[in-house]
């Protein structure tokens, strides 16, 4: 059934009346996503576009519409609370698109979520899409097509690029997930690899990484141990100039991991096919 969301997913949009929220809610609805509710603390009782009920809180939306997933279009200042609100209301999947959330806020939110059953995608991510079933976020609906490739990516627009390149060559996708590039993510490569490995409709996996951190190295180790489906990868930033580092701590912690070379080596050693260019995926997969 693909991963994370499908046509049965019932979505509440947090911040449905805002500029981005309203625009992308319409896009999600146009794609066929089941948008059952929206929230705005001051507009409970109204309707969005004359059809989607607006509630003051997510919990009321859950109680009255059975919403089980949330997409948050909320400014950085309010986004941590929006995530907590959905988790508190028992929402199983929260997609937070918001960019520029202070990282320590996300550290706190993520530590809290560990004690709940709520999965967060993001923040600072494009969300996810299961072709022809549900779109939770902003991945353009017209670039995807149904198929058997699961895509997980740290990047936003690069994800579209890769999906577009695959679709262009007739290679369809099971689910495409943009996990976001922030230092603290609700869901990481390994979570998605586990889900794709277990998903009947996914036959191949595409992983899009980028320089910095060690998420790709950890993913490589996980793939070696647990993933039997073929994995393909691209690492963005091979030609990026090395960043400046402050203090000794970063160097002590990260050592040489974080470079494109380190990531590509680790993935190759784990049996992953690493391509030089996103356009090459379609060729190696099909």
């Amino acid at each position: 059934m693909s991963i994370l969301a499908d046509k049965n997913t019932r979505v509440v949009v947090q911040g449905i009346t805002g500029r981005e929220g309203s625009f992308h809610t319409r896009q999600m609805m146009a794609y066929g996503t089941s948008i059952v509710a929206g929230t705005n603390p001051r507009k409970g009782g109204q309707k969005f576009d004359d059809q989607v009920p607006i509630f003051a809180t997510v919990r009321e939306a859950v109680e009255q519409t059975g919403a089980n997933a949330a997409v948050a279009f909320v400014p950085p200042r309010f986004a941590p609370d929006a995530i907590l609100e959905s988790a508190d209301a028992g929402i199983a999947l929260v997609v937070c698109l918001t960019e520029y959330i202070p990282v320590l806020e996300m550290v706190k939110v993520r530590a809290y979520l560990d004690s709940t059953n709520t999965r967060l995608i993001g923040p600072n991510c494009p969300g996810l899409i299961t072709p022809e079933q549900a779109k939770l976020g902003i991945i353009p609906g017209n670039v995807v097509m149904p198929g058997s490739v699961g895509i997980v990516s740290k990047s936003g627009t690069l994800t579209y690029e890769v999906i577009g390149a695959l679709t262009h060559k007739g290679v369809g996708q099971s689910t495409c997930v943009g996990i976001g590039g922030d230092p603290i993510q609700g869901t990481d490569f390994i979570d998605c690899l586990r889900l794709f490995q277990a998903d009947d409709e996914t036959e191949q996996i595409v992983l899009m990484g980028e320089i910095g951190g060690n998420a790709e190295e950890l993913a490589a180790a996980y793939i070696k141990e647990h993933v039997t489906k073929p994995v393909y990868a691209f690492i963005a930033g091979r030609t990026a100039p090395p960043g400046r580092r402050m203090g000794h701590a970063g160097a002590i912690v990260e050592g040489n991991v974080g470079t494109a070379e380190s990531k590509m080596e680790a993935l190759t050693a784990a049996g992953v096919v690493v391509v030089d260019h996103p356009d090459q995926f379609a060729d190696v997969i099909s």
Binding site: P76, V103, L104, G164, L218, G237, H248
Partner: protein, 381 residues
């Protein structure tokens, strides 16, 4: 955003960590005045620049009296240290050092937690210690839901074999440094060395601190501490418009939405034999105004011989980008050829707006990169 030693230590002090009572001097005369105010005895004059290796570069000097302080400040002010010119020095009172400890708190992305790092082998060579004797580096993750507890600092103190009479002080330093880290939205706070002074007390003699850029919006007082020379004029201009920009030395200007796609665009340009002039990410949901500013930045670089615009709309919309391009071309007179690749949200609308602009268009990124390289060569010939 990185803070200079002086500002880092001032914040440490505000959070209850003992620090020397030094002050900033912008001129040799000010250095003398500060040395006098500190009692006229030995002081350390330290270059305040956002780079390491000050000591080896002659940026840290001892002075035994105000005359010497003035002379040493004169030596140091104006020095070039790894490309940074010294505009100010910190004049700190001299201290007796019995022992040097390393103590830092930073965000460990992999563990998703703040991490305390400490070592009894503090001082200049801490990276070598980490390399050669990693067991001497003690690491403790802090779950923000419980914060720093006594058992955390006790573990570190015990592992470092710190004398028990200092455990109470050490706990306070660790707790206060954690407070300082959390309440300032830091991604790094580092004390090296944390010394045991002549009276057997702990004191933070040098400090570094990095603030999470996303946290600056709620710390306007910290945002003002940004060093003027921490970024170029173009980078500053970019930041004001919410654009991520890094100047490089190639000839193909790039304007892309999203850091990953921007890096990939550079990677693909290189793959096909070209050379990017910059990294530029207009961010998510950019408006026409940002696009205009981005193009002005790119075109102000005289090395640029072609511009590659690669926009895959999601939250960013193709029509907004197209309007920004038009506005920029109204403001800047340029002969540089443009290669434009618009895809995703409102790409069709965007392409319509640019239809009569005589720009080269492309469907895929490969195509766009190759056309930009060709355009730059054509112009360069």
């Amino acid at each position: 955003m990185n803070l200079i030693e002086y500002h880092a230590k001032r914040l440490f002090g505000q959070h209850g960590i003992p620090v020397p009572a030094g002050e900033l001097a912008y001129t040799p005369e000010e250095a003398r005045t500060i040395a006098e105010r500190l009692g006229g005895g030995t002081v350390v004059v330290k270059a305040q620049v956002l780079t390491g290796g000050r000591g080896k570069a002659g940026g840290v000097k001892l002075a035994h009296n105000p005359d010497e302080a003035e002379a040493r400040a004169r030596d140091i002010l104006g020095l070039d240290i790894k490309g940074f010119t010294v505009h100010k020095v910190l004049v700190d009172p001299g201290v007796v050092i019995q022992d040097e400890i390393y103590l830092a708190i930073l965000l460990d992305r992999a563990a998703r937690r703040p991490m305390i790092m400490a070592s009894a082998a503090g001082g200049m060579d801490i990276e070598a210690v980490a390399e050669e004797t990693p067991e001497k580096i003690i690491k403790v993750h802090i779950n923000p839901q419980i914060g720093v507890r006594t058992f955390h600092s006790t573990y570190i103190a015990s592992r470092m074999a710190l004398p028990q009479e200092l455990w109470g002080q050490f706990h306070n330093v660790v707790t206060n440094l954690y407070d300082c880290f959390i309440s300032n939205d830091a991604s790094l706070t580092e004390i090296n060395p944390l010394i045991i002074d002549g009276d057997g007390n702990l004191m933070a003699v040098d400090g570094k601190m990095t603030i999470d850029d996303n946290g600056l919006a709620r710390h306007p007082e910290l945002a003002e501490l940004r060093e003027a020379d921490a970024e170029t004029a173009s980078e500053r201009e970019a930041r004001k418009h919410g654009i991520n920009f890094i100047q490089l030395d190639g000839n193909i200007g790039c304007m892309v939405n999203g850091a990953g796609l921007a890096m990939t665009s550079m990677d693909v340009i290189k793959l096909f034999g070209g050379s990017p002039a910059n990294f530029l990410d207009i961010g998510g949901g950019a408006k026409a105004e940002q696009v205009t500013a981005a193009l002005r930045l790119i075109l102000s670089d005289k090395n640029v011989e072609a511009v590659l615009i690669n926009i895959f709309g999601g939250i960013t919309r193709g029509d907004e980008v197209a309007r920004g391009i038009i506005a920029a071309l109204d403001q800047v007179d340029t002969k540089v050829p443009f290669v434009v690749r618009l895809a995703g949200t409102n790409a069709t609308e965007g392409r319509a707006i640019l239809a009569d602009q005589n720009m080269t268009t492309a469907v895929t990124l490969s195509e766009a990169a190759q056309k930009a390289i060709a355009a730059a060569k054509g112009r360069g010939v």
